[in-house]
């Protein structure tokens, strides 16, 4: 492994120190390594909290800030934080308007959140939660619990975050989050593996002429491996699967998010995005909003996630509402 690291035991605290430094105008570290907004949102607005393993920078803490999250609980590398820190975050965010916890569907995150939510409710905190599980690699008819949470969480942070900022109630924010969650789908493709920064060992292996559509969040396998396709062919295969899953039809509007997971260049992401639009337009689907960038990474893995979300007037307005976070700014 060739990475710029020191003692692996300090990885997460060191990266958080640099993160807080680089974004001191937007975030601060507090308590047991919680990431909170530099300026607290008024207590009459719903707060958004999320949790997840580290090693996916800028996610998830990169979305703490005006218009999106209030607190994030970064775990160790690829490992969900334990329930006590999640509970601490819920307490920190607690307010009359209530707290919405956004959980990505991975065993560790779900287990920790369930324990923490139970304790929080016993303490009388006003908390609701939403589970993002938009990965379609297990197939359209798969048990929903088999659908992993991938980069789509970003859309939930953004649109539910905008609703919260506008003063909507906890139930309303939850409804926005659940609606977005239901109407989005993601598929990941990998070309080359990641190395775990603490063990130095590669996670999964990929031959020189092989790619995997359906790769998980951490380089763990999934989907089937196949001969490498061109950018356009890859985009076409993925759009087809996502459009099927969402049952997007002519006349509808969608948002497309191309998320580079590490070593895949922005150049490639732009090339893919361009094809996504062309493909959607041929189907009569309007690409109303689009993003390309490395929003949720898996170390230096090569590949990307493509997320599509059905949009409507309300969602477009929530998407266009301003946000200013370390990893996403809209104004």
């Amino acid at each position: 492994m060739k990475k710029f690291l020191n003692d692996p035991a300090n990885l997460v605290s060191e990266l958080l120190e640099g993160f807080a430094l680089a974004h001191a105008d937007k975030v601060r570290l507090t308590g047991s390594r919680l990431v909170a907004r530099a300026r607290v949102k008024p207590a009459d607005r719903v707060a958004l909290v999320t949790l997840g393993g580290s090693g996916h920078e800028p996610a998830l803490s990169g979305y703490v800030g005006e218009g999106m999250l209030d607190v994030s609980v970064p775990g160790e590398i690829f490992a969900a934080p334990g329930p006590p820190r999640v509970l601490e975050a819920l307490r920190l965010a607690n307010r009359p308007a209530g707290v919405l916890l956004v959980v990505l569907n991975h065993e560790g995150d779900v287990l920790s959140s369930n324990v923490a939510l139970e304790l929080a409710r016993k303490e009388g905190l006003k908390v609701r939660s939403v589970l993002t599980r938009e990965d379609i690699s297990a197939g359209t008819r798969a048990d929903p619990s088999d659908r992993r949470g991938l980069v789509g969480c970003l859309l939930v942070y953004k649109m539910a975050g905008a609703a919260a900022e506008q003063g909507r109630s906890l139930e309303e924010c939850l409804a926005v989050a659940e609606g977005v969650e239901r109407d989005m789908a993601t598929l990941a493709v990998a070309l080359s593996p990641a190395t775990h920064p603490a063990t130095g060992q590669p996670i999964s292996a990929l031959a020189e002429d092989e790619m995997v559509i359906g790769m998980g969040q951490h380089g763990e396998a999934g989907g089937g491996s196949r001969r490498v396709l061109s950018a356009d062919e890859t985009a076409d295969v993925m759009v087809e699967a996502l459009v099927q899953d969402l049952d997007l039809t002519s006349g509808e509007e969608a948002l497309a998010l191309v998320n580079g997971v590490g070593a895949t260049t922005l150049m490639e992401q732009y090339i893919v995005l361009r094809r996504v639009r062309r493909n959607l337009e041929e189907r009569g689907i309007k690409l109303a909003r689009s993003l390309a960038g490395s929003f949720l990474t898996v170390q230096e893995m090569g590949g990307f996630q493509l997320c599509l979300c059905r949009m409507n007037r309300e969602r477009l307005a929530l998407w266009d509402a301003p946000c200013h976070t370390p990893a996403l700014s809209i104004r």
Partner: protein
């Protein structure tokens, strides 16, 4: 052979279990890299280091306290899927461990409570290629040995053997929980890392119980 174990033995057993796991961290991560995210050893080692630290920090009054400390320590670290499961195992074990000492039947009862604690947190059952596939056979073997009248460490030996066998056999299973489930059929062929952790813990408990301190 003692008929029951006390606070001292349990402390020694926990430390030995932690050491077994920490020693095998590389192998545990390696197994996790086939279908998971390659970090089970890192995570378990972190959890077990925090158990050792907790035991060092505060001398516990009794067995229940000791197990509680261990469970809280695991629960409190960033443990991915592992932390809440092993944490709840030890916390429920603590709940089930009343009294100054544990004989074979009491230990079996406590472990049954521990297993139930894990099952409250996951829908995974026997055959799903998770830590349950080592834990449940171990607990059953413990109960059977206790019912047969074996003393506590002999009973634990049966449990450790069953856990090791369960871990080994998990290689034949197809994952239905945890990250490896997305692999489907291709998850067959490697031991489940979580099941191996259970086997290592039971092995450590046994070794710790047998050693003289």
């Amino acid at each position: 052979m003692p008929q029951a174990i006390g606070r001292e033995e349990v402390a020694r057993m926990l430390r030995a279990a932690a050491r077994e796991v920490i020693e095998q961290r590389a192998e545990l991560s390696r197994l996790d890299s086939f279908g998971g995210d390659g970090d089970h050893g890192t995570t378990m080692a972190r959890a077990m280091e925090s158990v050792l630290a907790a035991l060092d920090a505060a001398p516990a009054a009794g067995i229940k306290d000791l197990l509680q400390q261990a469970g809280s320590a695991i629960m409190g670290c960033d443990g991915g899927a592992t932390g809440p499961l092993f944490g709840s195992f030890f916390l429920a074990l603590a709940e089930g461990a009343a009294g100054e000492t544990l004989d074979a039947a009491a230990l079996a009862g406590a472990c049954e409570a521990g297993l139930a604690g894990v099952k409250k947190n996951t829908r995974a059952r026997l055959g799903d290629k998770t830590l349950i596939d080592a834990l449940e056979p171990a607990v059953s073997a413990l109960r059977a040995a206790a019912s047969a009248g074996l003393e506590v460490l002999s009973a634990l030996e049966h449990a450790a053997g069953a856990a090791a066998e369960g871990a080994r056999a998990s290689a034949l299973l197809r994952a239905r929980f945890g990250r490896a489930k997305n692999l489907g059929e291709r998850s067959v062929g490697h031991e489940d890392p979580g099941a191996l952790s259970v086997a290592l813990i039971f092995r450590g408990l046994l070794l710790g119980g047998r050693s003289d301190g």
